[in-house]
Symmetry: C2
Subunit: 487 residues, 2 copies
């Protein structure tokens, strides 16, 4: 689309000055998304969608490797279905969009646009499942969902968003619990190894769990402004939906039993997380495993002469060589922009590696490789460039993770004192470990007074000591959750 | 899911007896799709969705090879947008589903669920496109769409379906026309080489074109009951939407001009086409390039003894070898079913090749390979099985195409006589070439009297002769369209 706004490349708000404006500037100028003319909706533009495609294919691989298959269920959920599980409807009804007319007819029963698909899928499972031999059912769906949110933010919270939702049925509680934790671990591993984002993971408290679940588990990332981002959740649904939708099977012992279910999902919100965790004042920084363009080659020529042509030809040769080796590479040989200009643009777009190739490099048969993350420069001989670039991409992936981990560690505090807790949240934000009695009254008080919310009781956290007391009521502490303000 | 209904394998209605019932029986029993509890909606079950995933990835490859990128636009189209292009709203309004409430609020303006996305995309393009340098815009979207159809049929016409819609903008009419025909050709090539379906392709008549287009082109397949299936369309939209949505660019000559647009799409209806074109009395027949399972291995053992275990181990070894070579292979080593039973089930599911592996085969170090299409049997030595199976898959793909082509040729007639035309349509159906004056009155008369509709004026058809007259009005014929009854 228009390159006019490239003139604004240097004009994105500084991250440290106004994080929210910086976030929107990056999204708009890197052309990841745009506001749509419908309340709270966005358009995911090709560059942003390119990231989603990479996310999707690498997640889908992991789902298939764990024996899941994909299917597609209708976007419509009849109102009578949505209301069958009491907690579920209470949780979702306020944010449902309703279809009331089809063609010229007013519908007899209004249809919800799925805010999530437990209800419609539950209805189908009750038809499909007959005996223990039909179990487990391990189905995932990639779909759009609609939640009529009051406050929206590009990628993080939009009226319509894209996601995947796994919905599984099992014979026993234990199998369902195993699945719930297995998928939590798939998300954790994906966040760390593909998104280069360290996460804390663990169980949500009762007040933060999914409407209708027995237990919810989640992974949580820390954004560059010290606020938490929920990046994926996995629910053990118990038999709640099985009972509401009559999903039963004949077991080997000839008894009819309700199935045990799970559901789990991540969404386009992950793209918001990547921007917020990795980005800097110059724009986006993408992990190589998710970058639509991993390497950009900028040939530096001085006018259209013989040596310029030779250099360009060589740059194209390098481009093709990298492409053949499976690297996502793009050559920027546009005449109408100067090299410095191009450097800024590709930095804004978060391309992990830039290759500069000028006349001196040509003479030495080398290129200069600049890493987006820290502008680390190195010279690479053209012979052997494929292996060198692949190694640089791996290094960039790791360095990005390390930087995010360092930031998180620097912004994680432990406190047993509520006044200190309040001070940290106000002045530094970040993750705060604090002992808690387990009572939702204390949890609500913290939320009201500090806007800090229990994120999870982490599996990879700090154990609560027997002599520690709840920071609010001073009764004996049962857990050491992580608190944070959050998106 | 439940294997109980496998007992019905042999009970699918015969194709020759009742084609419509046969079609539904195959879909239900092969577990491709199921009826959803919402009017006209279906669930695409894992096996059916597996076909869609193969379709999608191979189409997407072709779109990317022709320089298209993917994006995602909202499902909501404000009513005022939909009404901006007069023909467009007239064509789609009767089948729009309307959202009138969000959360607890009644919306000020009701929102259409996209029946197609020209309107919402047009609005965004008018913001994004500034100068000729922004052109061409070559964007595709994979999405669900909603059409409140009166009569529905699994896969072929459902209230909600999945599709892709390309939406492009160009500087000139010529470029838009080139794109329109390029994508028509992508669809043709895909139908022939991947779906193994021969198609006629060409231009739709004015009365059959897309609401809002200058010209519509399509590919048409012939189902096993002699009715036509529209399998893909490509539209030259001209400047109709550009004018309605004010999509303009500053050209090199400093003049502001409207862009020229195209749109093109195929949908989950293609799966219906595959069933109807290739299937037989035993069920589905899948082209190898779209089969979720290309080869099934059925080990034939007699009880659990040493030789049975050895045979099973060998069968698993073969399975792994084929898997490693990129073949989608599955071993059916279930104890609870007999081999003949399994043969029926995998035939029903349309798996292109079945490998039978029994004690005698084990002794000879060979397998027996049976082709789904015609049960052609051959013995293959286990050494060299990978190359042999790959060759068999290629042969099966070609043989399926050849069979479909032969059927189409046998069901294609030419006539210059209207009485004969009526007789053919009534008794044989199929494609009928007939000379036509080009007047929509004659076209409407044929449709009313025979239910035959002009499919396309084919590019790969028969030229009209200068001495031929319209079969209805007897005036000089301008075109030789293909007529057929259709889905």
């Amino acid at each position: 689309m228009s390159d006019n706004n490239m003139q604004e490349v240097r004009n994105i708000t500084k991250k440290s000055e106004d994080f929210s404006r910086w976030y929107v500037d990056v999204i708009k100028q890197a052309k990841l998304a745009d506001y749509a003319p419908i309340r709270g909706c966005q358009v995911i533009m090709p560059y942003g969608f390119g990231i989603w495609e990479k996310l999707q294919s690498q997640l889908d691989e992991r789902f298939k490797a764990t024996n899941h298959v994909n299917a597609y269920f209708p976007i419509f959920v009849p109102e009578s279905f949505l209301t069958r599980e009491a907690e579920h409807v209470e949780g979702f009804a306020p944010e449902v969009a309703w279809v009331t007319q089809g063609g010229n007819d007013v519908l007899e029963e209004r249809l919800a646009l799925r805010p999530t698909s437990e209800a419609i899928i539950g209805e189908m499972y009750s038809k499909w499942i007959q005996t223990y031999r039909d179990l487990p059912v391990l189905i995932n769906q990639w779909a759009n969902v609609i939640r009529w949110e009051k406050v929206t933010r590009l990628f993080l919270r939009t009226t319509e968003f894209l996601w995947q939702e796994g919905h599984t049925c099992h014979r026993t509680y234990e199998e369902a619990q195993e699945e719930t934790l297995k998928m939590l671990d798939v998300y954790r591993e994906f966040a760390e190894n593909v998104m280069a984002i360290p996460v804390i993971y663990g169980q949500k408290t009762d007040s933060e769990k999914f409407a209708g679940a027995l237990a919810t588990y989640g992974i949580e990332a820390l954004a560059g402004d010290g606020k938490a981002i929920q990046a994926g959740t996995s629910h053990n649904l118990g038999q709640n939906f099985a009972k509401a939708f009559n999903i039963m099977f004949l077991d080997e012992d000839q008894q009819r039993k309700y199935v045990w279910q799970t559901s789990w999902g991540v969404s386009t919100r992950l793209i918001g997380g990547i921007i917020m965790v990795h980005g800097d004042d110059n724009g986006l920084i993408l992990p190589p495993k998710l970058a639509p363009v991993q390497v950009v080659i900028v040939p530096i020529t001085f006018g259209k002469n013989d040596s310029g042509e030779k250099l360009l030809a060589k740059a194209r040769e390098i481009t093709n060589e990298l492409k053949k080796a499976g690297v996502s590479v793009q050559i920027d040989d546009r005449d109408e922009y100067r090299p410095g200009w191009k450097f800024n643009e590709w930095e804004l777009k978060g391309v992990p590696l830039r290759i500069e190739f000028g006349p001196k490099d040509y003479d030495k048969q080398q290129v200069v490789c600049v890493r987006r993350l820290d502008r680390e420069k190195s010279s690479i001989p053209i012979s052997g460039i494929v292996d060198a670039i692949k190694a640089k991409l791996d290094e960039a992936q790791k360095a990005l993770y390390d930087k995010a981990l360092k930031y998180r560690e620097e912004h994680t505090r432990i406190t047993c004192d509520y006044e200190e807790f309040k001070k940290i949240i106000e002045e530094e934000r970040g993750f705060i470990y604090a002992p808690w009695c387990g009572d939702s009254v204390c949890e609500a008080k913290i939320k009201d007074e500090t806007k800090a919310i229990t994120r999870v009781i982490p599996f990879n956290g700090i154990p609560v000591e027997s002599n520690q007391n709840c920071i609010v009521c001073k009764n004996k502490a049962k857990h050491m959750p992580v608190f944070a303000r959050s998106y």
